[in-house]
């Protein structure tokens, strides 16, 4: 692990080679171990160390150059700084450059776990075994991935700023398929500690979903359905949404927060009272770092509070022009929930669909944030509050803005991993009029 002392030495060493007025040095170091399995056996796995130093240099007249190296030798650092400075000198002034930030008070975050940082095959293989045994006992085929990482990040600059943080992260995701590949079920667990991962539980949930679709699936037509969207899908949708809270894009007519004719929707109640979307670096369930790309300290901030658009992300340049306080970009995403279990959400629906997760999500229209994607690994009909039949997959064309506007009920939030936008703290939700646009024959 890259200790605070080692990181400080590296950064000081690099800054020591710098001749230009500004020099920022970002260091990252990761040790990870992973196991991939398919067809009920391990396929590939590995153990590796990766590291990187990124050097950003700025001249007196705001010319910037950047260099990234993975060698940490004296020679490589010297060359990296030289490269960044040479590029800065031949670049042109950046009118949006801001003076370097001085020392910052970064939050102390607790998301490092020693057991996870040291875990290798002996800690991970038992989970893989549990999954594969679960698959075999149900006459299913398992494919999945377990990984853990120990990470260190550090940053420093000539203006005296310094930060260092270590964190761990891990996940187990698993797909069960029935014989002949006619039905599929998926489950995942993700956490900063491997102690939260339970191969048996992941096996059980994914096996139940696959087995439920093992018989004949009911064919449903495309259309607008009430949907109980499990947390993995919600994580993807709010991940896309959170990316749209930049002030510049909103003010320049490019996001769903732009108003026709100019201005933004900040301060407007666009969502139901029970929708609160925020970032919380102090949530220990997420592998958040104390600073983001702007180097400003990550902090607790609401983007939507009780249905009202509360804040936009102002980088330091845009904040200066707008006469506002700068705000950090979302360092993580938390969607507040209610005290309901998924079973209670299902029980609340007279007729609808339970959707396990979403896949291959892409933007269709930036102003409405309309997206397209697919359902995957378990879609089930809910009738009179009960899950009845497994049904076909769908392509959907829908906007997370409309999804949150049409949300009727929320479950208990927990850490979930989507397929596109990483991990967040979100609940499962009940959404009215979710637009399932066409049928997908995929299993």
């Amino acid at each position: 692990m890259l200790s605070q002392k080692d990181a400080k030495n590296l950064i000081d060493q690099a800054i020591g080679y710098s001749k230009l007025p500004q020099c920022q040095v970002d260091v990252s170091w990761t040790e990870d171990a992973f196991i991939r399995y398919a067809n009920n056996g391990i396929t590939t796995s590995g153990y590796r160390i990766t590291q990187q130093i990124s050097i950003g240099s700025v001249t007196e007249d705001k010319r910037q150059g950047n260099a990234v190296v993975t060698e940490f030798s004296e020679d490589a650092l010297k060359r990296g700084v030289q490269q960044a400075e040479d590029l800065a000198r031949i670049s042109r002034p950046n009118p949006e450059d801001m003076p370097a930030l001085g020392p910052q008070k970064y939050l102390t975050l607790s998301n490092y776990d020693n057991y996870t940082a040291a875990a290798r095959g002996d800690a991970m293989i038992p989970h893989v075994k549990a999954v594969i045994e679960g698959a075999k006992s149900g006459k299913l085929t398992a494919a999945g991935f377990i990984q853990r990482s120990a990470n260190a990040v550090a940053v420093g600059n000539k203006a005296g700023l310094f930060g260092h943080h270590t964190y761990t992260d891990c996940s187990l995701t698993n797909t069960m398929r029935t014989d002949g590949g006619k039905s599929s079920g998926w489950a995942s667990q993700t956490s900063v500690t491997l102690k939260d991962v339970n191969g048996e539980a992941v096996a059980r949930i994914s096996a139940e979903k696959a087995a439920r679709g093992a018989g004949r699936k009911r064919s449903l037509e495309p259309g607008k359905y009430t949907v109980i969207l499990e947390a993995a899908g919600v994580s993807d949708l709010v991940g896309f949404l959170a990316g749209d809270f930049g002030a510049r894009g909103a003010e320049q007519g490019q996001t769903f927060l732009s108003k026709k004719g100019g201005g933004t929707h900040v301060g407007e109640k666009m969502f139901p009272d029970y929708i609160t979307l925020r970032s919380d670096p102090l949530d220990t369930k997420l592998a958040t770092t104390p600073w983001g790309p702007s180097l400003m300290p990550n902090q607790r901030i609401s983007w939507i509070e009780k249905g009202v658009v509360k804040n936009l992300y102002y980088d330091r340049y845009w904040a200066l022009k707008a006469g506002k306080e700068p705000t950090p970009a979302p360092g993580n995403v938390v969607l507040d929930g209610q005290a309901h279990t998924v079973e209670e959400l299902i029980a609340s629906v007279d007729r609808g669909l339970l959707i396990t997760r979403l896949y291959y999500i892409r933007s269709l229209q930036p102003q409405t944030l309309q997206l397209t994607g697919l359902t995957r690994d378990g879609v089930f009909l809910v009738e009179k509050g009960q899950v009845t039949d497994a049904v076909n997959n769908f392509r959907w064309n829908e906007s997370p803005v409309r999804v949150l506007q049409n949300t009727k009920m929320l479950g208990r939030p927990g850490r979930a991993q989507g397929s596109e936008t990483g991990s967040s703290i979100v609940p499962a939700i009940v959404v009215a009029d979710f637009n399932l646009a066409s049928v997908s024959d995929a299993v």
């Binding site: 080692d6 007519g253 022009k321």
Partner: protein, 530 residues
């Protein structure tokens, strides 16, 4: 595990330059032996192979790789609340250097990697790879079986006329600045982006079967993009000059004529902003190579990857509707459709002389006259479909990534010489001409896809008419390719591609090209996006 247990403090802090083998020395141009790998690389490779054997591996390979990426360009957008344009330049040079060792022990793969390229660290990491492999044997489905390959000792460099890294950055910035300013000239253009990207990959592979291969690949990728906004209507539309990313040198940038194309991109972005929305329904499509490449990639490229068909990607990228019993008989397209997998084609992003298994790359038919013929394979898969050799599709995106099956260049054969884009359009009464790629999404078995584009023109009564907007088309792979009734001749064949094709866990990216001529598809379901 503590830092000290993993790598020595001296190694980590790199107390002396001599402690590390500098990438420059290993990968520099040889003075007198251009056909042979660098002897220092061979010595380091030998350390891994010897250590693996000592630790009980039955097979081993080591890849020592260096990557260089350079990005430069400009973003132009108005300052807040004013009319003045902020011209924001960016210049970044990235280098990555390290090694990865792959072994087979107890019948299982093991892999380990490190950025410290020293003999001591190579030996340590090799032992780690063997530990990984042996641990995996506890949950083994079947032992790894490698298709045979010849032994090669060679050095190869991709074709280029002018080294793009040798061109002064000032010259690059001046070129891209001029083009970007030209795109931004109209105030309705909210943002203009000009981008030049250059990539070089130095790769060395040594295998326990005696191969020692050093390769060098140079690639370039320029882009111009304009985003137009109508604040009153609350809409924005973009238009890009999507020049093909290509394995070539600076000459490809010169050929792209960025400066000459920039005003056209500006005007077409404005035309796109004012364009009426499409009327949805069944329509004929004429798809240009700058668009069709991505449809080929997603629907025919990914569906014919053997690891997907066999379930190895079931948890991530997905499986495939092209299951193994369909090989040799399934009609996936009309008789016009012949598609090759090809890592030998000039300029292809996936073109290389040897793959990351050390296999000499080839060209092979994937679809012949509409019939699915062959999967993309690597050494540990060939026997699973009764084949005796790999088709050379093994690739890892970094020294720290596990090599696995990745897509070769997959290209569609051109139609007869006499067929032209105009003759394809002339055969359409109510249709759409689509250029450039836009939104793209396809399901995990590659049945149902939905694609947008970068620009759309109406076709009415056999003639190209004005631009339209908010277009997406949705289809099933086999129905779509069976609806193809015209492909333009070889004179119109062009290669496009991407650097960012994702697959695998941990996810890796792949660079791949797809060539084709303009082609016509009948009665495809066209949607209006909102």
């Amino acid at each position: 595990m503590t830092f000290q247990q993993n790598c020595s403090r001296r190694g980590f802090l790199g107390a002396s330059a001599g402690a590390l083998v500098a990438a420059e020395r290993l990968f520099g141009e040889p003075a007198d032996a251009p056909k042979k790998p660098n002897p220092d690389l061979e010595r380091l490779g030998g350390v891994a192979l010897a250590e693996a054997k000592k630790a009980g591996a039955t097979y081993a390979d080591i890849r020592i790789n260096r990557y260089r990426n350079q990005f430069s360009g400009y973003r132009l957008s108005p300052e807040r609340g004013g009319t003045k344009t902020d011209e924001v330049p960016f210049v970044t040079d990235q280098a990555s250097f390290g090694f990865g060792v792959r072994v087979i022990a107890a019948g299982q793969w093991g892999f380990a990697a490190s950025p410290l390229v020293t003999a001591e660290e190579i030996a340590r990491i090799t032992r780690e790879a063997v530990v990984v492999a042996k641990a995996n044997a506890a949950v083994q489905a079947s032992p790894v079986q490698l298709a045979p390959t010849k032994k090669y000792v060679d050095r190869w460099t991709s074709a280029y006329q002018k080294d793009p890294f040798g061109v002064p950055v000032e010259e690059k910035l001046e070129l891209i600045h001029g083009a970007t300013v030209s795109m931004k000239k109209d105030p309705k253009i909210m943002m203009a982006l000009g981008f030049l990207g250059f990539r070089a990959e130095d790769k060395y592979l040594a295998t326990s079967e005696g191969s020692s291969i050093q390769q060098y690949i140079v690639q370039v990728y320029p882009l111009l993009m304009a985003n137009a906004v109508d604040m009153q209507k609350g809409i924005s539309r973009s238009r890009s000059y999507q020049t093909p990313p290509v394995t070539a040198g600076w000459e490809a940038i010169t050929k792209a004529n960025l400066g000459e194309n920039a005003p056209r991109i500006r005007e077409e972005a404005l035309e796109h902003l004012a364009a009426p929305p499409v009327t949805p329904g069944k329509k004929d499509l004429v798809l240009l190579p700058s668009h069709l490449w991505l449809t080929i990639h997603e629907s025919l490229g990914h569906s014919t990857e053997l690891d997907r068909a066999l379930g190895y990607e079931a948890n991530f990228a997905g499986t495939s509707f092209m299951t193994t019993e369909k090989m040799g008989k399934y009609k996936v397209g009309s008789e016009l459709i012949t598609v090759y997998g090809d890592r030998t084609i000039a300029g292809g992003l996936a073109s290389v002389k040897y793959d990351d298994d050390g296999v000499l790359t080839t060209k092979f038919p994937i679809v012949e006259k509409g019939i699915f013929k062959h999967y993309q394979t690597i050494r540990d898969q060939a026997h699973l479909v009764g084949e005796t050799e790999s088709r050379g599709c093994c690739y890892a995106d970094s020294w720290s990534s596990v090599p696995f099956q990745r897509m070769p260049n997959v290209w569609l054969e051109a139609g007869p010489r006499e067929v032209t884009p105009d003759s394809l359009i002339a055969g359409v009464d109510d249709g759409i001409l689509i250029e450039g790629d836009g939104s793209f999404s396809i399901d995990q078995q590659r049945y149902n896809f939905q694609f947008g584009g970068d620009a759309f023109w109406q076709i009415k009564g056999g003639k190209k008419a004005g631009m339209i907007s908010r277009v997406a088309y949705q289809a099933k792979t086999s129905e779509f390719w069976n609806s193809c009734d015209g492909i333009a001749g070889p004179a119109y064949w062009q290669q496009f591609g991407s650097f960012n094709d994702g697959k695998g866990e941990p996810e890796q990216i792949n660079a791949v090209s797809h060539g084709c001529s303009p082609a016509r598809f009948r009665q495809v379901n066209v949607l209006l996006t909102d």
